[in-house]
Symmetry: D2
Subunit: 334 residues, 4 copies
């Protein structure tokens, strides 16, 4: 039975507390938040859980094996470092850290202490992304040409980060999980329309090895909500519409083949158009899958796929995108 | 009665010949194409029209007032120059020319000879774009924050140009028509997946004055066809889905307002969500509207909105995008 | 403070208990169910609520003003009668009763005892239906020509009633609320594909005064879920798609007008096609609106719009449809 | 080379003339229409075709093997009879005839004269319907439970027939082609909202052998155009959306199975939900496929699938539906 303490009971924290409470392999011992209203809600729903307003009180608890850090990214490093130093495994909200250096320090510390870091890349535990991973790994799609995501809606404007740090971690963590090619350079363009110091619209393009391209369209100021990703493969192509109730993933037997007979300047293009199919997608809640996997990793001392290294790779992409954004789109190496 | 000669009877030429034939104010006198099969088709459908295979034969004809040039872009300049020098008005397929210099020479020549140039920016004559123009001009949308277009499908791979020169002229001509802000810098990223020397996927971002941003997602390798544009305005927001039979344009009374009371670091965001409406769109064929406008411009010696200057502005954007694309996304000034 | 007792904690009962608990004007005193597992869940979530397995224990309670009956329809009459006789107001799940006679007895009893009956026609408290009611009442749609609903999905096959008694109460209660014309005759066709004694697919048509027609397409065996209603009015037409997140209701300025000049045999038809608009719909949970209205009706001794009479009118339509269904579609007067 | 004469050059006639002209195995010799404007158009497009205003002139022509009758249904019988008596094969617009008797006389006459009748059930030659036929015939769908079609739009109000005779022939001809069960009884409900003597909205239900049910929702007064058909099979279910550009047909591995172990009163229902797939549909124009098949039938003296018998079966269903409609939905045997 994994005993957890959760720091942060704002937007996402309640899901983490519910998840660790509902899982058979874990229990929540304590919750920490600086907001007394939040703690009141915890007591109402979970009378047996202890609450506190000072994170170090929670981190110091003997009856806690794992500290879940569900706070703004600027606070991750200090909390995670304290927890690791106190011998706790950590579960950290995404993005992992606010800088590459912070991530590297935490990874080294966890390794030294033989502790496990899991970064909450929830999306890679959805049925949809697990299906995409399967279709890439078993060669159904063939070599991947591009990953093109549109992730737009009206709001929620974050007060402390721009749209890149808010929305790009979703796609970067999925790309990190699904795509085998290594990222090379990043460009990002965007604008802060409201003079808040944080861009509310941004476009990111990442060049990968082997001519793979990834593109993210991120927008807090769209009249409609879109969560659509196109993945073009050499053999098949895929559309993932996460807002569809059914048929989230459609696989198209479509593509292009090039006939080289006539030499490079006369390459003939053949278009292929066949059936489409939409595989059944597992609907188990992603967070439930993720937390059970976390418990299993700790129980068996296994390295999670979404460990600190994975969190670091995402932070590297975010950092590069952020730098390019501030330089009006100038390419930045990863 | 405007007497026209049409050079090029390939993919789009038949529409131009049909358009000038069907209009009450014009007639087609001659058609020129290097392909004898194409000329055979012309004779079958229009027995009274003369055909030739040498463009100068057509350009030399005394009974032709207007030369329509519906050929690959690399040939536009020489044909257009010869026609203008021979005292003909010209109607030129988009993009206007293959370079800025070519466009400037043609504009100067037409001005000197008092001849009219119309660049075939067909899209700005669609009911949808005319409605968008109206909504921008009458202030319904308010200040424009961004123009975000997705224009993707499977094929047709062009043999002589990349996806930017093929698809971006549509959006650039619409932006040139609708948006009052001036473009400042362009970045473009893309890949040629088939080693053909021409990118088949490209993302273009244009920074404009007043924090306006335009973005184009162009892709010949998409499993699905998408023609969707989001336009975010300060007062209202618009979605234009050109593949919808009805309701091509939806206007959302949605947006964000910023409350400055607490100072720049504590700006409060208010979200506004109201009705949506889809105005009735005129369904008259765009080409018909355009050609009647062209005839009217020549009859009354009026400068078309899609004149050589407009064609030049589009070519400037294409040239900047192309340059950035070849430099992996480095920003290029317009 | 309205003190309620709830009988039935199966599929819908938990929502009723939650609703009466969450409302400021009411509290749940006791819950009754024959299933001990259900009662266990109640105690877990609402430790202060008393539970029992015998309905008469609940009905007899002095501290209960209102009995909510959330059980299969065959049991409604006996429970409702006992509750009314004991001086309790009742809130009854739809359909109100299994027969016209039962409904009439309950109505008379409530009237005699000066008690209030509310039938849980939840749908008429949704933002969508309230908006439709408003558009009909203020004349926006004009005279109503037809109401055409498709309500299909895969499952859930009910064990005790057919698809008519399961799904038609939704539409009949909406029609009863929105449409002013009186129903005249009903026909219904359907089939029991699995030899269970209950039709799993049914089509109902109701003729109303003034040439109004209503049609219901009900199906437990559809591969896709559809909740779509067309309402044709003389002035405007409306599409209500309840599965849309936004834009549930679209109003079309479309219609037909008939020119009588040439006499009845040469009536000219004019088609009108104008804008479409989608009004903002209130998203407050329907059950919350309904229960607050119920509390208000009891506090101020007001007759609810969804009172026993309304429940009776729905039961009359169900009974007529059921009779026609068993006679292969023969028309039955209401 | 089949030599054809076409009577009727109104809405659909031009397609028939174009089709017979374009086919390699046929030529159009003459076109007949009472409207001089229509004949003028014919001469413009087909200078070599002769025109006349009197049908008997066309029917008498020696150089005509086939008479295509593309006129209102009330005129089919007289024209078809004269053509058959003159030794011509006939191609007749749907519905075949205005009554069962007329159809029977024509069938007998054609048989006696060894001539071929083809009724223009165009829809069964679409790629979509041929795919559905294939999926039914090869057992993919299993036993068919129901066929449920929605065929609604705004207009075109026909002046001489009601919505049943206008729209139902499409579905009835498809059902006749695809479904093996025999129809038993028909009910139809509908209303004439404009006092024109012809219903503009109608619902038809047909009971078939083996508990199969067909339903048609027909409406000239719908704000939106819908062409959607659900086909429920014991093994798989199908949705055909004819307005989709791609993916017209989606096949769902969904259904219900009944476990009989516990006896009839406790049958357990199991729901099955699996993948969906959309097969590639042949996009060849249906009329082209049909006319080539017609030419082939005549050349090889083969009985068409859409022969007079098929036309008669459709007319029987129309007649029964019409009778039920006039009797407010009373069931009528086929």
């Amino acid at each position: 039975m994994l005993k957890t303490g959760v720091i942060g009971y704002g937007y996402w924290g309640p899901n983490i507390v519910r998840g660790f409470s509902a899982s058979e392999g874990s229990a929540v011992k304590a919750v920490c938040d600086s907001n007394p209203q939040a703690l009141k809600k915890v007591k109402l729903l979970y009378p047996q859980v202890e609450v506190c307003s000072n994170p170090s009180d929670l981190i110091d608890r003997k009856d806690v094996d794992v500290v879940a850090i569900v706070t703004p990214v600027s606070t991750h490093f200090a909390l995670a470092k304290a927890a690791l130093e106190n011998g706790k495994h950590i579960f950290v909200e995404k993005p992992f850290t606010a800088s590459i250096e912070e991530a590297e320090i935490l990874i080294a510390l966890a390794q030294k202490k033989n502790l496990i870091i899991m970064v909450d890349h929830t999306f890679i535990f959805t049925g949809a992304v697990r299906k995409i991973k399967e279709l890439v790994d078993n060669g159904t799609l063939g070599d991947i040409y591009y990953y093109d995501s549109t992730r737009v809606n009206l709001g929620l404007f974050q007060s402390d980060v721009n749209v890149v740090w808010d929305l790009a971690p979703h796609d970067f963590s999925i790309i990190d999980y699904v795509i085998k090619n290594k990222p090379l350079t990043v460009t990002a363009q965007g604008v802060d329309h409201f003079n808040r110091g944080h861009e509310n619209i941004a476009y990111i393009t990442v060049y990968f090895e082997n001519n793979m391209l990834a593109h993210l369209n991120l927008n807090w100021l769209s009249p409609v909500k879109i969560r659509a990703t196109l993945i073009g493969g050499q053999k098949k192509m895929l559309v993932w519409n996460d807002l569809e109730a059914d048929e989230k993933i459609k696989i198209y037997d479509r593509g292009v083949s090039v006939d080289d007979k006539e030499g490079i300047y006369k390459r003939l293009i053949d278009y292929r158009s066949g059936d489409m199919w939409a595989p059944l997608i597992d609907r188990t809640e992603a967070l439930k899958v993720e937390l059970e996997y976390f418990i299993d990793c700790i129980s068996h001392n296994k390295k999670p796929i979404n460990d600190g290294e994975s969190g670091l790779r995402v932070v590297k992409l975010l950092t590069a995108a952020h730098k390019s954004l501030k330089e009006k789109g100038t390419p930045v190496s990863v």
